[in-house]
Symmetry: D2
Subunit: 306 residues, 4 copies
Amino acid sequence: MKLAGVFPYLVSPVDRDGGVMEEPLRRLVSHLVDAGVHGLTPLGSTGEFAYLGWAQKKRIVEIVVSETRRRVPVVAGVASTSTHDAAAQTGALVEAGADAILAILEAYFPLGEDGVEAYFRAIASAAKGRTVVLYTNPQFQRSDLSLAVIERLSHVQNIGYIKDASTNTGRLLSIIERTRGRMEVFSASAHIPACVMMIGGVGWMAGPACIVPRQSVRLYDAAKAGDWRAAMELQRPLWRVNEIFAKFSLAACIKTALNLQGFAVGEPIPPQAPLGDAARAEIEAVLRGVGALGEGAVGAVPAARR
Amino acid sequence: MKLAGVFPYLVSPVDRDGGVMEEPLRRLVSHLVDAGVHGLTPLGSTGEFAYLGWAQKKRIVEIVVSETRRRVPVVAGVASTSTHDAAAQTGALVEAGADAILAILEAYFPLGEDGVEAYFRAIASAAKGRTVVLYTNPQFQRSDLSLAVIERLSHVQNIGYIKDASTNTGRLLSIIERTRGRMEVFSASAHIPACVMMIGGVGWMAGPACIVPRQSVRLYDAAKAGDWRAAMELQRPLWRVNEIFAKFSLAACIKTALNLQGFAVGEPIPPQAPLGDAARAEIEAVLRGVGALGEGAVGAVPAARR
Amino acid sequence: MKLAGVFPYLVSPVDRDGGVMEEPLRRLVSHLVDAGVHGLTPLGSTGEFAYLGWAQKKRIVEIVVSETRRRVPVVAGVASTSTHDAAAQTGALVEAGADAILAILEAYFPLGEDGVEAYFRAIASAAKGRTVVLYTNPQFQRSDLSLAVIERLSHVQNIGYIKDASTNTGRLLSIIERTRGRMEVFSASAHIPACVMMIGGVGWMAGPACIVPRQSVRLYDAAKAGDWRAAMELQRPLWRVNEIFAKFSLAACIKTALNLQGFAVGEPIPPQAPLGDAARAEIEAVLRGVGALGEGAVGAVPAARR
Amino acid sequence: MKLAGVFPYLVSPVDRDGGVMEEPLRRLVSHLVDAGVHGLTPLGSTGEFAYLGWAQKKRIVEIVVSETRRRVPVVAGVASTSTHDAAAQTGALVEAGADAILAILEAYFPLGEDGVEAYFRAIASAAKGRTVVLYTNPQFQRSDLSLAVIERLSHVQNIGYIKDASTNTGRLLSIIERTRGRMEVFSASAHIPACVMMIGGVGWMAGPACIVPRQSVRLYDAAKAGDWRAAMELQRPLWRVNEIFAKFSLAACIKTALNLQGFAVGEPIPPQAPLGDAARAEIEAVLRGVGALGEGAVGAVPAARR
């Protein structure tokens, strides 16, 4: 399966008792598909995968798959410290209708390169032919995919993509040069999407795309067309969204922004705290600045009126 | 409940399919209680809590509680990123017979002091009066308990202990001075137990005690009696055990050592790798050096003969 | 003074007794100016500023200024932990003929934002109207210039540039957006120069430009002309040079490469070790791959024949 | 030369123009020797070695040697990134009368074990038979002395001591066990001196001893006599001094405390900032709490009256 374009990381709306809130999740999915995004990614960092139990994770993917109705691919996150558990999750999410798997390794004790490679190979095997996207995030994870391991994994038939959430854009070029023809690169919110497209990336998987989907698609289209001047004109103001996303806790930031836009997706999962008033005001100002809040901005009923 | 003395962190014997291996776990529990340890701690770092699912965790605590037969207290580990999940685990483990809870916070996104405090308070509430031991391990966890939060938590009625797995022994004295009369301190394998006892600690919770239980109890007795010369004589050779424990991956090291001693506890949970021959030989030499391997050393049938 | 384009960080040829080797330094300067670089930067990281005493530093700048004969600007590095010392160095290097100052803060104890700001303001004052380029390198330095401090410093009249040696390209866009009209950004070897140019940078200051000056100038010209397709075609093979520069110790890598190219610039300053044979072979292969070694590559007499 | 006991790290009184303030330095030296300390250590971390030029360093050692009049040994700090420079400093400080050398490695680029070892061997050679004390401080330095390198260096005839400024007390026991009979260990302020003495240390080199010299000597005497109960009674309140030393910037903290005690040693070297009122008040309270401020506490004329 070919993946390219803008893939928002979906937030995971969960109530105080741990129940998945189906309706706001469906509304968000529907809204994003209507806005033209090229795929959806539940259970990424922004989706608080690290705070969810298995039952919650499965339920979220089922809802997203159901609401998406195959209009765009659903790339579901699998994250674990254990190979056995990761393979089991993978099988179940494919069963639940995921079109592709975003493979995330969590580590507690330090792990050697062989262990890292074996973990991702096990997910690829369990994916029954579905496409696998490797995920690296050195900021929050204790292990990392080295260039050598990435190169080896690029030879696995159904490992076709990597999404790198480091801030090191040069590393992406190193990956691209080493895996050409076998693996494609997605940007993350910590990179400048226009730059990643210019060096050969195929799109981005990122939390901010949840709150600026139309703007993100316009930027993608300009970059895809090689119109770098237009791309940078769109990129500059959008970068503010990535800045606040990095500044405030990821999930808290996107949930706050979505609430401001009228999607009642709830609060971040405790012990994470909801953002304070100052953060909320800063997020609101940024949203207004990029036309993502206010009259007709998202077409959603403001939370206050619901 | 008063806790003091040597509390081995139990390994978690799990087979390739994720099944808990009951018999070797029972033998280990029985052996350690017979060797005179003062308590047992399933589901610590050495117990690979980070690699286990909830069903495995519950089963392990049930087996340990059943085999211990209340001869010594069982302090079961609760670890989560989510407050709701941690409270649920706590309730279930108390139900399963745990005498006390070792409370471990995992973090993915950075967490403020208020969030950290709320997490541990929630566990204390869910423990239904059972004693709670705070656990800090800045090496493997992304959040840390600051002195200010520890001091505040020491005022919670059933939070009576803290086990600090940093290597910073001075921090223990700072904790002791701030919480005197309300909280007691356990050493970890990264500290020198004799030193921690001298500055006012009440014992240690540590993986190495699984493989040198009798030697650990002798050291504790000397320190308890204030015989620091004898304590240091016992401590010096034992420190080699802590050194290899830090050098090799914790769970892999203790599982390897137990296998050498005749306890067929299996391998570390993949993608962790079993230790190689050089590590195995080094561990064997250290065990021999402290009389923890060979004729009559542990009274267990060598694995090879089983 | 307007600065833009390719500014190689010069190595510092120093013999075993600490003597500055004048002749190879002059040859290198002359060669680079002839190759079309837009400026020269002695006493950067690649110039081993951290390993040189003041007498050596002063001598190096004098030689570079003398050999350059004002054909291109010389941006001399000033680095210190002490404000007083940094100001004194600045005054003396301006006196010695430096056209601009690259201002580097070293820290031992943690330093607050006010201290960081005061340090750079003191250098700007001591520069007697000469242009100052801020330098940040979070990898090797213990303090860092925050966005807030950079913004405040951009209002200082003669602080006109910043060179950021982090690997975080997004940070450069954040700086550009905040300082537009007051400060320009230079890339470092840890960023992809073509990307930095696209987001609004004015060039790069980097060690690798010492060994691929002509190729660097061609890349700069393509980017300057907005021909991003051509820029990326030149950038891809050149990125290998940046990769080996990051992989091997910076100064050791560039000195090794220059020796291979026929510039007898000596070894890195002890206790740094010269690179081994494997590293040397890898560097040689990369140089050949980009046409920076072999027949007519650099126009220099091979070291072996000298 | 045998070294043992309490060795205060002297602050370096320097005026705004970089001039060494001779009189307060002489008064401090005289006061500490009278208070019974067993040696003096100029140019350690607390002595702001990282902020001083060579002329200042040499002058400070000359003053300390002259005022000490051989009543106790003077262990002068040598710190550099460069082997050649470190050897030159060593020779000059021995010439200036230093009884022993505290050898400090600064690093900018990462350094291999061979480079680290060669650096310290070069200092030992340059010391003309004078005793060398190795210094490790992983908190502020980029390189570290591994156990393997320490063991190798312990075989060098005149490398007789190591002072470890990590917070990892267990590492000290590992060093002691590996170098017995060849090398002795000094504690730093980040360790609990009573603990380090119990595991076999011979004293401590630390900034706080500047402000509580008499109390430090009493603690040393109790520990030396093996009276650990008395030692811990003295240690508990003194630990507060080490806590504030770690909390506030080292040199700023000790200079502030000395000024409060009537020693006009000036401010920390800019861009380090003087401590604010809150910090000053906290330091004052701690000093009073251990009897190091107030009527007859230090026998010095209060700064206000001078």
